[in-house]
């Protein structure tokens, strides 16, 4: 059976968890766990046939990244997914600056598919995968 894929609009932004994590340290567990997630409408989770905390792959024209699906607490917002600002979101945001210097971080067409077998990379692994470089 073909895996369900959902066409959505990707928003990125702040969460209080990300704010607390970044002050604690950008390499801290709190920060990494707060930004490698994706908030999805409960009805969309049903459509994808996955439960909360399953790994999903979010893809745009600019890349794909595996993050943990979380149930959005303030639904409904059908077909809108939210990933906090951070290294995971950056893999898939639109770099187009429209001639004014500002990339397009919100309102990006994206697709979500369940990938329970694919792991969420650690910060070091993600940086190595994306840039082929690390502290060691």
């Amino acid at each position: 059976m073909e895996k369900p894929r959902l066409r959505v609009t990707l928003l990125t932004g702040r969460t209080i968890e990300q704010g607390v994590g970044k002050e604690r340290g950008k390499a801290s567990k709190e920060y990494v766990e707060s930004v490698s997630v994706c908030y999805i409408d409960p009805e969309d989770l049903k459509r994808l046939g996955v439960k909360e905390k399953t790994n999903v792959m979010v893809s745009t024209d600019y890349g794909s990244v595996v993050v943990k699906a979380l149930k959005s607490l303030r639904a409904p917002h059908p077909s809108i997914i939210f990933i906090p600002y951070g290294p995971w979101a950056n893999v898939i945001v639109n770099p187009e600056t429209h001639g004014i210097g500002m990339p397009s971080f919100k309102g990006i067409p994206a697709e979500v598919e369940p990938t329970p077998d694919k792991p969420i990379l650690s910060l070091e692994e993600l940086l190595m995968e994306q840039f082929g470089k690390g502290a060691k």
């Binding site: 409904p76 210097g101 309102g107």
Partner: protein
């Protein structure tokens, strides 16, 4: 044990200056009055992620080095570069930013601050349209209508509502906090009754509506302060609000222009705009006109979505239109604690607030060309100095890809994604905790940052590090000139 009062919090643009810190044996042990981010910073800044020694990349690996060696290598990279980037600046003091601008001029680089990826479009619009604004104190004492558009202060500026807007106790306007508590209690009772009815009769949940389309509640006509949130998704701030309007993604511009039309008494010949029924908009427009002192705070929901600076044009113009009827002001919700200071100091010294290019020997400003993301996307830079910022974690991947190929210098108190990619890492003291200075609040009010504890041994402030780099760059250039 000492208690230090009236400490300025170096986290967000609200710059709360009523924090009380308890210091014991040179460590902060208690934080009073702060939000979750403030506590996290003051209590957790000295975590295991703290950088204590300078690092230099040797054979592909970051290894410990002496400060002298690290500063020498930094100066060498910058002095040899043709088109270096100097980026960050929004989480350090105005004094350090001032030295950074001097360094950028000395090395002929592009200097940019984080507003390029937050309120850069707002600055461009403000330069075109102008901005009717005021200080947060005015808003605290007088505003009876508060609108947050594309902004979630509950998460990004947690004490903003409590200190400056709806829940603050002003001289002429009272806090709406009690009304909010009553509303929450009533809504909990309503939820319980509804769920009991569902369990008894309907057996299951009712189908959820596609979008939140709630009518303006009757409480919107109440006396006193009113809070409206307009956003693409229901945030925690939206839950607090008297009225929440859910706008479809990338359609803020349409909604802003619809409000402008309604305020100018024009007819709108469609039933809904951006997913919101026009009759609801009419009621809100009426409220805006009838208020005594209104304020529109806008966030990155407007600057990062489709339309970008044009959304801000429309928002500024809406406030201009509203001033034909009543007193209305507008203010961007600035993120980093000193991003406003970065814009201010940049403007003093170069004439421009961000994206300043010194490669021709004089300051040139053309966002889209001289802005750091565009320089990186065009792969033009050949070195980078990043201070108090983490662009590898905050820039789109394609821009960060070129950044990490450049010889990269990072000045930061913490190990972060950018520092992991760096060739030279210089650990610095936390501004506002271990080093003093000045920062500008989002309403352009300058406030002092206090030094409350000593930095770890051998760790210097951003200001001192930049002073030493600048001196070393000048020495190297002088030496080369003499040799030539």
């Amino acid at each position: 044990m000492t208690v230090i009062k009236a400490v300025t919090c170096p986290v967000c643009g609200s710059l709360c200056d009523d924090i009380e810190l308890t210091i014991e044996n040179g460590r902060i042990v208690k934080v009073k009055n702060g939000c979750a981010m403030c506590e996290s910073k003051f209590l957790g800044y000295n975590s295991e992620h703290r950088l204590l020694k300078p690092l230099i990349r040797k054979n592909g690996e970051l290894v410990k080095a002496s400060l002298k060696e690290a500063i020498g290598r930094t100066a060498e990279i910058l002095a040899e570069a043709n088109y270096p980037i100097l980026y960050g600046w929004s989480s350090t003091s105005c004094e350090a930013i001032s030295l950074g601008l001097e360094l950028a001029e000395e090395v002929g680089g592009v200097i940019d601050n984080t507003s390029v990826v937050c309120h850069g479009p707002s600055i461009l619009s403000i330069q075109e349209v102008g901005i009717p604004s005021c200080t947060l104190g005015q808003i605290r004492h007088r505003a009876d209508l508060v609108v947050y558009w594309g902004s979630n202060p509950w998460s990004a500026h947690p004490r903003h509502i409590e200190r400056y807007t709806a829940f603050s106790e002003g001289r002429f306007e009272k806090s709406a906090w009690r009304g909010y508590l009553t509303k929450i209690k009533a809504s909990n009772v309503k939820k319980k009754i509804e769920s009991a009815i569902r369990r008894m009769f309907l057996k299951g949940k009712p189908p959820a509506p596609a979008y939140i389309r709630n009518e303006p509640p009757s409480t919107l006509q109440k006396e006193g302060r009113k809070l409206i949130v307009i956003d693409v998704r229901k945030t925690r701030s939206a839950e607090i609000a008297d009225y929440f309007i859910q706008v479809e993604p990338n359609k803020d511009y349409e909604l802003l222009q619809a409000f402008r039309a309604l305020i100018r008494d024009q007819e709108i010949d469609v039933d809904e705009v951006a997913g919101v029924p026009v009759e609801y908009l009419e009621e809100v427009a009426d409220l805006m006109i009838k208020c005594d002192f209104g304020v529109l705070f806008f966030g990155l929901g407007l600057t990062m979505s489709s339309g970008k600076l044009r959304n801000i044009d429309a928002a500024l113009s809406l406030v201009r239109n509203l001033n034909m009827w009543t007193k209305f002001v507008i203010m961007p919700m600035r993120g980093h604690f000193n991003v406003t200071g970065a814009n201010t100091v940049f403007t003093w010294q170069t004439g421009y607030p961000y994206a300043v290019d010194f490669s021709l020997g004089y300051p040139k400003y053309n966002p889209g060309e001289t802005s750091v993301v565009d320089v990186l996307l065009r792969k033009e830079s050949d070195a980078a100095l990043i201070i108090a910022s983490d662009p590898v974690a905050n820039f789109p991947k394609t821009a960060a890809e070129h950044l990490v190929k450049n010889p990269l210098i990072v000045i930061d108190p913490h190990m972060n994604a950018t520092a992991q990619m760096a060739d030279v890492v210089l650990p610095s003291a936390f501004v506002g905790i271990e080093a003093g200075g000045t920062a500008y609040r989002m309403d352009h009010v300058p406030l002092p940052l206090k030094k409350v504890v000593d930095p770890p041994r051998g760790v210097l402030s951003d200001e001192e590090i930049l002073r030493r780099i600048l001196a070393e760059v000048r020495r190297m250039k002088r030496k080369r000139a003499e040799a030539a």
